[in-house]
């Protein structure tokens, strides 16, 4: 059914045994080694021409600094340093990046272009409002899309990532509870939840308790109901959940929580699976963050920046953060901040970041939404789910799929390491995928599945690409079951072999230390511990 190269094309000859030719530079043709900036740069070298002026230190309160110990490079050296480093990365632009729960989809370049329009990129957050009407309109239009797609009542645009959005949501909930003089202390979180959920709850001063999962990978509704009570402020549910499954009882869960006087927070990281198919507002959810850098394709950038607007129910809307952009009947926009909050948004929990949220991500996300439109976004969810189920069904014969029996998955397929030969693990499979030219899936998350492999292809993968991935993974899994020692060596073709993470943590070296005269190299930092 699948072939390693569905296009029919194959390298005309098998990869031969190349006796490794060690090179004096450590380079391997186009795989280039790159020293640290601190090994090639010099404090007195610069890649920027600045006219030298003499300046009188009178105004510097006697705190003038000597030379700043930062290495510089000329522009050509700088371009090479970073270009060479970039080539040591895998990325969506290179191929499949099926990192479960991260929604690594194609990042359209139109969005990059739009975000760089001077009218967006070169505008100061404190400019008088009459000079930023276009910026406020972008925020407002994006908010409208988010509300329409989720069927919720209000949206807070300030959060700078998903976790920040969780914070925003829980702050709304806490403010709402306090407003009714109800000091609840507990937040319930499923075992399968992402780490940010309990962390955020704790960050807001709540005590976290776990809710168990059923063997179908869903929230155990009875257990949940059993635990609900006057001390439970909120329940944090991820839906679709981190096993890639929709919570069919979501509405029932919400009703139960509401009946007990609590609120329902939904982790919307997996919204990509249902956008345009069902509206969270219809599921009784009170607050949900949306990772614009997932569902709406703003680039992950090697770990951010993200953006995590939070949609909220009517009950929570009065407590949302400031500032926000309000539209007036005359078509003008106004920023509601400290000044006017008094009249217009008196119950706000306040400000959670200096300015107006991730404007640079808003422009990208809006361009993405406009490009797809209502019909395209529905198609996004359908293709994402189709791709995930295709992977699930194409591999369940060789890989243990713990929840496959209970029906289709949503946007991601989950497998366990059951059946691997002794000593062989999910890690070995992941590293072997690297040699095959793929980014591995999410490993060992969620915790409820042993040696979890969480595969999220997203809708921007072609069938041909999936077939190639499926065939490669199938081959690797067979080796893992057969206990083929080659797997343990993987990766052999990457810029580095497996890295020693234990050493890194035991003797943390977190900054470059100029070598001692004897050239002893970077000295580890004591770094506590």
């Amino acid at each position: 059914m699948t072939s390693p190269n569905p296009t029919g094309w194959r390298p005309a000859a098998p990869e031969p045994e190349i006796a490794s030719a060690a090179t004096t530079t450590g380079n391997r043709a186009l795989m280039l080694e790159e020293p640290l900036l601190f090994e090639i740069g010099r404090t007195d070298r610069t890649g920027i021409d600045i006219d030298h002026v003499d300046c009188d230190p009178a105004r510097l309160a006697g705190l003038e600094r000597g030379t700043v110990d930062l290495p510089g490079l000329s522009e050509p050296e700088t371009v090479r340093h970073y270009t060479r480093l970039s080539r040591q990365n895998y990325a969506i632009d290179l191929g499949l990046f099926p990192l479960g729960s991260c929604t690594m989809k194609h990042n359209p370049r139109l969005n990059e272009k739009v975000a760089r329009l001077p009218g967006f990129a070169d505008v100061h957050p404190l400019q008088p409002q009459e000079t930023v009407q276009g910026a406020l309109q972008v925020i407002n239009e994006l908010a409208f899309w988010l509300l329409d797609l989720t069927g919720m009542y209000g949206v807070g645009m300030s959060p700078k990532a998903g976790a920040h959005g969780e914070l925003c949501g829980l702050l709304c909930i806490r403010a709402a509870l306090e407003a009714r003089g109800d000091a609840r202390e507990v937040v319930l979180v499923p075992e399968s939840a992402h780490g940010t959920n309990p962390a955020t709850a704790a960050f807001c001063g709540y005590r976290v308790e776990n809710i168990p999962a059923t063997k179908e990978g869903r929230v155990d509704l009875d257990a949940l109901k059993g635990r609900l009570g006057p001390d439970v402020a909120a329940v944090m549910i991820t839906n679709p959940n981190t096993c890639g499954l929709f919570e069919p009882e979501m509405k029932a869960i919400s009703d139960a929580v509401h009946a007990a006087g609590g609120f329902v927070y939904c982790d919307g990281a997996n919204f990509n699976a249902i956008v345009g198919k069902v509206r969270p507002g219809d599921l009784g959810i009170d607050a949900m963050h949306i990772n614009l850098h997932k569902t709406f394709s703003t680039p992950h950038g090697g770990g951010g920046p993200g953006s995590g607007p939070v949609v909220v129910s009517e009950a929570l809307a009065p407590f949302g953060p400031i500032p926000y952009a309000a539209r007036y009947v005359d078509g003008t926009y106004k920023l509601v901040e400290e000044e006017s909050a008094g009249e217009e948004h008196p119950q706000t929990f306040g400000r959670m970041t200096a300015f107006h949220g991730q404007m640079g991500m808003f422009t990208r996300a809006l361009a993405y939404m406009l490009s797809h439109g209502a019909d395209g976004l529905k198609q996004v969810a359908e293709d994402a789910v189709l791709n995930a189920n295709y992977i699930l069904r194409s591999l369940e014969d060789v890989l243990d799929a713990p929840f496959a029996f209970s029906g289709p998955c949503m946007h991601e397929a989950i497998f366990s390491d059951k059946g691997f030969a002794a000593g062989f693990s999910t890690l070995d499979v992941a590293k072997a995928l690297i040699d095959e030219g793929f980014h591995p899936m999410t490993m060992y998350f969620p915790l409820v599945v042993h040696g979890a492999m969480l595969i999220e292809p997203t809708e921007t993968e072609s069938k041909a690409g999936l077939d190639q991935f499926i065939a490669a993974l199938r081959g690797i899994v067979e080796k893992a079951k057969a206990g083929d020692p080659d797997l343990k060596a993987a990766p052999v073709h990457a810029p580095r072999r497996r890295l020693d993470e234990t050493l890194a943590a035991r003797k943390p070296v977190l900054a470059y230390q100029t070598p001692a005269p004897d050239g002893a190299g970077a000295a580890p930092l004591a770094g506590g511990g």
Binding site: S86, R87, G303, E338, M359, D500
Partner: protein, 452 residues
Amino acid sequence: MRYLPLSEADRCDMLQVIGASSVDELFRDVPEELRLKGPIDGLPMRASEQSVERHMSALSRKNMVAGDVPFFLGCGAYKHHIPASVDHLIQRGEFLTAYTPYQPEIAQGTLQVLFEFQTQVARLYGCEVANASMYDGSTACWEAIGMAGRVTRRKKAVISSGLHPHYVSVCKTMAKFTGDTLETAEPRLEAATDFDSLAAAIDSDTSCVVVQFPDILGRIGDLSPLAEAAHAKGALLVAVVTEPVALGLLKPPGEMGADIVVGEGQSIGVGLQFGGPYVGLFATREKFVRQMPGRLAGETVDAEGKRGFVLTLSTREQHIRREKATSNICTNSGLCALAFSVHMTLLGGAGLTALARLNHARATAVAKRLSAIPGVRLVNDSFFNEFTLELPVEARPAVHAMVEKGVLGGVSLGRLYPGVKALEKGLVIAVTETASDADIDALESALTEAAK
């Protein structure tokens, strides 16, 4: 749709493999009655790239572009010239479309960049270690207070009146819920900072003192005495830097005894972007590293003994420690950290100093000219590239009047401290290398008019 590779034929083939008769069947866990039938109401259908670009360009043209007019705004976001190579490099697909480097063997590019970034930030701040970035300066500021609390096991923070009011708001928001107490005050239009009075406010319950350097009015104060005072009471000194370029010319807080130095990195490589995304910088002492929030890249070796880098000390983080984590942050500001690092590499120590000198020289000249306007008083004794004027009139209308003249002439304290009478005549003006002589002339005449 141009971003969706599956053809109708593909979809049919795949459904067959799956054994489903329709895509909708795959959504059967979603209660029938809640499933949307057609495309969701109230939204337009798909649009071509050309028409989306038209729409967005039209919106962008409704904003006044900093680069198109005489521009003098600061207060936490600064306009500097960013070399073209910075934007080129951060758009490399291998950086732009990569994820958090969880698979280090194929993420050495990002990991080495983060290691270099951490080192640059630590050196800029005069600290031993820095993390791989926070969301922005304001959230980093709050995280610093939280960390000071963990280190000292105390819950009271003393906040300088010179801290950016939005940063103060963010801290207040959080404190409301964590039960920390914050001692805050509004600044006064005085020549010097409030460091002396702050020292007096420190007691044995104080977890930290938080000061901005230079402060919201642009004033510069020596941190050393304050650090001593804090340490004497077992408290930490947290320094906040909103304009990193200042440290090209000014002693870094770390060298003056600050225990945690945080700030905004936007000035270097990131750009204005109407307030975000920016990049939070966070540095401290080695001995506190395990109390630090955020990601850390660290050096190690691979199976062949070759040097390489990995994310490390993640036992501090939410994905391992969950509710016991030092912070809930996950996605941070990676790409902005890259931009910061590239720009800083282009500058180098010498370049940063030269840039800082140029900024300071121009600011000094402008301060001289503007304070010569009848009725206008320069508040600051000391400043770097930003200073505060007291106008003979309320500053907020003056700013709008200048806009009429096509000049973005600073930030009024009325905007930052609405309703605070004592500050309403205050105007904060930032002058960087991007202000041309013509811009400065335009500012002078516009302000002369507006100050009448």
